[in-house]
């Protein structure tokens, strides 16, 4: 295991932010800490980096107890949401920083830094200052800076949080590819489930300071441990006391076995998909169908239909409230 | 520990440079009770110095406030050639020695200077009289109101004023109802700084006033003159009064200073 976190508790004042958190991060994996804001994921990442001290519990990095080690001695790479660029240093000197601290020979530093700048596509920007870079470029510089010291683990705190949607998507794909090239154990924090599913090979869902579920993206999406995880990972709707994904529902104009009667209240066309909004026993629900299927059914508001979960659909029974 | 070391150095330095000297004066002033202080400050010369100081300061503050608001609005809301130059010139008085200020005014407005001579022939005396002291005080305190108002005016933006115009307000109405309330704390801050600077000016006033006891003597000049004449109690009492004004200024500016 690259990182083992055991029974970590942490409070800010009287507010607990991490409660009995234990996770294992496999060597070479790309793990996402996913959860709503205030769920404790950034704090957990900072505890791993040594930027916060846990109240109780331990952190092992590569088998060594790092709980009381200063960040300086942990050999982790940390990438901050707002980049934490050294404003007074050029891109080159930013990336070289950790190597200069380690007193590596000048020629080695130069070679290593240029390699990394090539890796993050910033070789043309070496002599610029951070203020002259775009957000995405700064973030890539911060990544190269963290990678320069060959860290045992790479930690990224909402790495794409401050970027606009387009750049975010590009960097996501790029991070995945980078990880496939470099293979350093990587943990990143995100509140965007799409980002976690697309990039990570393991997802840790954190909410209210607790680990709700750990698994591969498919496991977490298809077999959510509880309604919270199911809701957080994707759209859900409620049919007959069960939580179901709206794309996992069969809809038919005629009554069907095991079906529930519903009234169509509105039909919303969103490009290739169509959202059919329903009333079932006085409650709102919705179903996602393809456009051709919707055209075939020819639904109008006011129609009565029958809905039921797909045979293979995952659904979670909601405990009676 | 480095932390405690630095803290000790900083506090010790401030203690011996600021706190102890100022504290000692206050302690010496009140060493023999309140009565001698009251006596020293109610002597005719002291009362007269108070009056002169107030007159000069109030005129100077009034002039600099009008100039300050006008120039700040000009710099922030209008564009014209030479704006950068004007902006730089406003800070010029900060770099000029008070004595040079006094000399400069004497060279223009003195009895033997062309302008001063002309005014003298009309019966207006500037140097060695109140107008000259006001001019000197205006000079040294000139940037304070402008510099307090400009950043707030910038932050305020002109959208609200434009909104007022679309609602039918005239320029004056928009200024009085929108702009002025928006800058009132910054303006108050600038006026307090300006007033304090005006009450406490020494060098420039020393040069242009001629230091005539019971005529053009301000409170700061009174302190110096009493001290040179070995009347320590009066000098200390007046100094303490001025120090008190300074402390009140500090607290007021602390209260009014634009936050963040």
């Amino acid at each position: 295991m690259a990182i083992e976190v055991r029974d970590v508790n942490k409070s800010f004042g009287t507010t607990p932010v991490l409660r009995d958190v234990s996770i294992d991060v496999e060597s070479g994996s790309l793990t996402a800490l996913l959860g709503p804001s205030g769920g404790g994921k950034s704090t957990l990442l900072r505890v791993i980096a040594g930027l916060e001290q846990p109240d109780t519990g331990t952190v092992h990095i590569s088998g060594v107890d790092a709980t009381r080690l200063s960040p300086q001695r942990r050999n982790v790479g940390f990438v901050f949401q707002h980049y934490a660029a050294f404003k007074h240093l050029t891109v080159f000197r930013n990336v070289a920083f950790g190597l200069e601290i380690r007193k590596r020979p000048k020629a080695d530093i130069r070679k290593r830094v240029m390699e990394l700048l090539e890796l993050v596509h910033l070789e043309q920007m070496a002599d610029r200052y951070p203020a002259q870079l775009s957000g995405g470029q700064r973030q890539r510089m911060a990544l190269a800076r963290a990678l320069a010291v060959e860290p045992e683990v790479l930690l990224l705190d909402e790495p794409f949080g401050a970027l606009d949607a387009q750049v975010r998507k590009e960097l996501r794909t790029w991070l995945r590819r980078l990880h496939d090239e470099v293979h350093v154990t990587t943990v990143f924090v995100t509140h965007d489930q799409e980002e976690a599913i697309e990039v990570a090979d393991t997802i840790v869902v954190l909410a209210g300071g607790r680990v709700e579920q750990v698994g591969s993206p498919a496991e977490v999406y298809d077999n959510p441990a509880n309604p919270f995880v199911m809701r957080f990972l994707g759209p859900v709707t409620e049919i007959g006391g069960n939580l179901v994904r709206p794309h996992d529902i069969e809809i038919s104009a005629d009554p069907q076995e095991g079906g529930t009667a519903a009234t169509v209240s509105r039909i919303v066309r969103l490009g290739f998909e169509v959202r059919v909004e329903l009333r079932i026993d006085g409650k709102d629900a919705w179903v996602q169908v393809t456009r051709s299927f919707a055209d075939q059914l020819g639904l109008k508001p006011g129609d009565t239909v029958s809905v039921r979960p797909n045979p293979g659909a995952r659904s979670l029974a909601l405990a009676a409230v | 520990m480095a932390k405690y070391g630095l803290r000790t150095i900083a506090i010790a330095y401030l203690f011996f440079l600021l706190v102890l000297p100022v504290g000692l004066i206050i302690w010496r002033t009140f060493g023999d009770g309140l009565q001698p202080v009251v006596d020293a400050l109610s002597s005719p010369s002291a009362v007269h110095a108070f009056q002169v100081t107030l007159t000069v300061a109030l005129w100077a503050v009034a002039a600099n406030t009008v100039f300050g608001i006008g120039t700040a609005v000009l710099l922030v809301r209008h564009s014209f050639p030479g704006k950068r130059l004007l902006n730089a010139l406003i800070d010029l008085p900060m770099a000029v020695s008070p004595v040079v200020v006094g000399l400069a005014l004497i060279l223009v407005y003195g009895k033997f200077a062309p302008v001063g001579g002309l005014l003298e022939s009309w019966g207006i005396q500037i140097i060695f009289s109140t107008p000259g002291m006001v001019l000197a005080t205006v000079f040294v305190a000139l940037p304070l109101v402008v510099r307090a108002v400009v950043p707030v005016l910038e932050e305020l933006g002109d959208e609200q004023e434009q909104a007022a115009h679309t609602l039918g307000a005239s320029r004056l109405q928009a200024f009085l109802r929108i702009t002025l309330p928006g800058i009132r704390w910054a303006l108050a801050y600038g006026i307090v700084l300006c007033l304090a600077r005006s009450l406490g000016e020494y060098g420039a006033v020393a040069v242009v006033s001629g230091r005539l006891v019971d005529q053009t003597q301000t409170l700061t000049l009174f302190v110096e003159e009493r001290f040179q004449n070995f009347d320590q109690p009066a000098a200390f009492a007046a100094a303490t009064a001025l120090a008190l004004i300074a402390v009140i200024t500090l607290l007021l500016t602390k209260l009014l200073r634009p936050k963040g």
Partner: protein, 286 residues
């Protein structure tokens, strides 16, 4: 008193809003012209014309006279003392001001808010009172037994008093705004606290430290009131340039006074222009 405003780091070179670099063919609207006219007239009558007359008067009797006025033994001694003492005071402020700003931002202790308020006291206190106060503690009747009256050390002490806030108040806001994550990033890259200070914090403070130092230097060059009492105005020993100008005015030698004044003005302007240059250099990196 309160020169507080001069301490704001990097005053905006030209307020935005009207923006627009002054275009040459630019018609100024009537209202603006009236305001601009009054403003410039006010500034000219009180500041610009009088200062120009000082410079003009200093050369009234030719450059030879100017040179002789500046190099009379007492004037020369006053000028060198002023510039030397101001340089010393500026460097001392650079160190102490930075330490005080550091303690005010990074340290926590009871009464910190009071200390923070006290820093501005020298700006608020009339200079003559500052001089009197220092003379009481460090003069012939010093309860501490330290007598600096009528000595150059006394002059330096008075200048240290009046210039205390400059470096503190320029460095403090920069230190407050400094991105903490930058330091955490340095630590996670293996830098020790000292390395983080030297390689990350200090370089980010240098422009502010130098601005504050330049302001303290300019103020020291110009200082008059606080040195009057403690220096005793001994020519060749403790008389600073401003006091020398004052005694020349008293002696009705206005041309000589104007010559020394001009030297002071030029030195101050050079310091301020370098300061502006430094600030541009500092903001180049954003």
């Amino acid at each position: 008193m309160t020169t507080d405003v001069a301490v704001r780091p990097a005053p905006p070179p030209g307020p935005p809003g009207g923006g627009a670099r002054a275009r040459s063919r630019f018609s100024v609207p009537g209202g603006t012209a009236l305001g601009l006219g009054s403003s410039v007239l006010y500034l000219s009558l009180i500041v610009l014309i009088p200062l120009a007359v000082v410079a003009w008067r200093s050369l009234d009797e030719g450059p030879g006279y100017f040179w002789r006025a500046v190099t009379t033994p007492d004037a020369w001694a006053a000028l060198t003392l002023t510039i030397g003492a101001s340089a010393l005071v500026a460097v001392f402020n650079l160190v102490m001001g930075t330490i005080i700003a550091w303690v005010l931002v990074r340290d926590r202790f009871p009464g910190k808010a009071v200390v923070d308020t006290l820093i501005d006291l020298p700006f608020a206190l009339p200079t003559i009172v500052a001089g009197l106060v220092l003379l009481a503690l460090y003069g012939p009747e010093s309860p501490l037994g330290i007598n600096l009256a009528y000595s150059r050390a006394g002059v330096v002490l008075a200048l240290l008093f009046v210039t205390l806030p400059f470096v503190v108040r320029t460095v403090q806001p920069v230190l407050l705004e400094l991105d903490k994550e930058m330091e955490q990033a340095a630590a996670s890259l293996g830098a020790s606290p000292f390395q983080t200070f030297r390689r990350v914090i200090l370089p980010n403070l240098v422009p502010a430290m130098l601005s504050g130092t330049a302001l303290a230097f300019t103020r020291s060059i110009a200082e008059f009131g606080s040195t009057v009492l403690i220096s005793g105005n001994l020519p060749f020993k403790t008389q600073v340039a401003a006091v020398n100008i004052f005694s020349q005015i008293e002696g009705d030698n206005t041309t000589g006074a104007a010559a020394i004044s001009t030297v002071l003005l030029v030195v101050a302007l050079v310091a301020l222009v370098s300061l502006d240059f430094l600030q541009r250099w500092g903001s180049r990196r954003g």
